[in-house]
Amino acid sequence: MNRTDDSVLADDHAWFRLERKGRVLRFVAGGEWVVGAAARLDRELSQLGLGGAAEAEIDGRALMRLDSAGAWLLVRTKQALEEAGARVTQFALPEKYEPLITAIEHEHHAPPVVIERRHGIVAIVERVGIGTVAAGRQGYRMLGYLGRFVIEWLEAVFKPSGNLRLAPLFHQIEEVGINALPIVGLLQFLIGIVIAYQAAEQLRRFNAEILTIDGVAFGILRELGVLITSIIVAGRSGSAFTAEIGTMRVNEEIDALETIGINTFDVLVLPRVLGLLIALPLLTFYSDVMAMIGGAMMCYFDLGITVPAFMRHLHSAVSVNAFLVGLIKAPVFAVVIGLVGCYEGLQVERNAASVGKLTTRSVVESVFLVIVLDAGFSILFSILKI
């Protein structure tokens, strides 16, 4: 028989029949008992009535091919015959398949594998419980992480020689600050245009077009400049922190650092958080400028306010406080984004799926925290009447 011509999955030739001779049951199988035929054979075998015989014989001498799935079905049939009360007196097979059957009969003692899927109220309660415990643990770990960060930070401040690594710090400043300039600048420029356009449309109705400048200036300087920049940086750099540190965890690089005796916090976390702490306020200043340029351009084209007139009104309407109120938030947001990004990176488990999952989580958490903190700042400033 030429085997290359038939597929393993060919399903045509497998057959079996049951012969009864008084108290003796004969199970005759033939053809190609292979994995492709197994599903059909399984269904047909399950409909067989095997009871009522004292003795049974299995005759597989007509088998042309047998693989492990087919062999399992034969072994299972034999077990079913024995359970039905018959003594299996003969199990005849072509010689070359004997080792396969022996291997399966001897090695297979495991109960069938169950793939469990729980349903209903128990599953919901279980998941809620697991989630609650996980959230509690997460909070506990985060607190520990924050504490460690503060201690390492203080050490770096008071003893910078051994603890503060300048090369990675500058690298991070370049990565999160300078390399972000094009995208942050373009987006803030567009935001400035959009705000100016919307404000002009509304204020035109009251003949107060000149107040567009106030609207743009306060909106950008106090809120949107720092907020949009932080969200971009969270998406750009927070995610990169998690992915970089997470990949290092998967490759056991962090373990390697630990065994060499290098403080992973000093090498991985401090430069990133510190780099962001330096870069984000600078980026915010830059994005304020870009947004104001966008606003001024829109004022010129839409309202006919020239740039000198724009500048004059800006000087009289907006104090430097509005700018500082926006800028003061930047370092806070920077620390939050950096800490969350690095923390999630360190939480990565040693598998590839974990990196992706935690990177997503890191971005969502840091954007969430940035917006919540921004709302907190608004409340604080309104109480302080700034």
Partner: protein, 256 residues
Amino acid sequence: MAEREREVVIRVRGLVNRLGGNLIHDGLDLDVYRGEVLGVVGGSGAGKSVLLRTIVGLNRPAAGTVEVFGQDPVPHRERPENAVQTRWGVLFQEGALFSSQTVAENIQVPLREYTDMDQALMNQITAMKISMVGLPDDSARKFPSQLSGGMKKRAGLARALAADPEIVFLDEPTAGLDPISANQFDALLRNLQKSLNLTVFMVTHDLDTLRATADRIAVLVNRKIKIGTIEELVRDPDPWIQEYFSGPRGRAALAH
């Protein structure tokens, strides 16, 4: 019988592979016959894994042809009825188990894809494969991240064997196993190969495994391949081959 033994299941002709500007294979020819265990050895960077990846269609060669069962192994968008992918199993170096699935679910992936078995039968077959490769029963429900390196390898082998393939590709199957597990692996491989008439393409450095299982050995040297039994290769004048089989480890493995 002898006629069937010479049936070629993998045919490689004039294979040329380049990686990053380096010539890895230069006009390499290889025939693998049905039912044999072919061990592939070679120094680091000699292109053993590249050869394996080319044969299973993961790497497009720069020139030359590869045929498995007379078909092009590169996956087509439209999978033909009798695609080669249904007729081989591949064990990757680290197991390459799907990390979001349990061991049992991993093993059932090929069964689910290529057959219409009931869940009950799939569970029985999974249990059989798990005990066949020597994994403890409770590993079925574990996730790959909960397994040790050796267990991952066994689970990967169980997945490779799940749909009873005709060819099994093994990439360093015994690397990282303790000697006892490695011996068991050799015995298992021999056993399965005999009873299922498997064709095995095995990349390995393990001389003991080679001696215990391989019918022929393919040595990758100087971007070409030299094939023969251990006895034939020991007499080959090539310095790398001499070093390989006559070095202290080689002598120890062959002395048994």
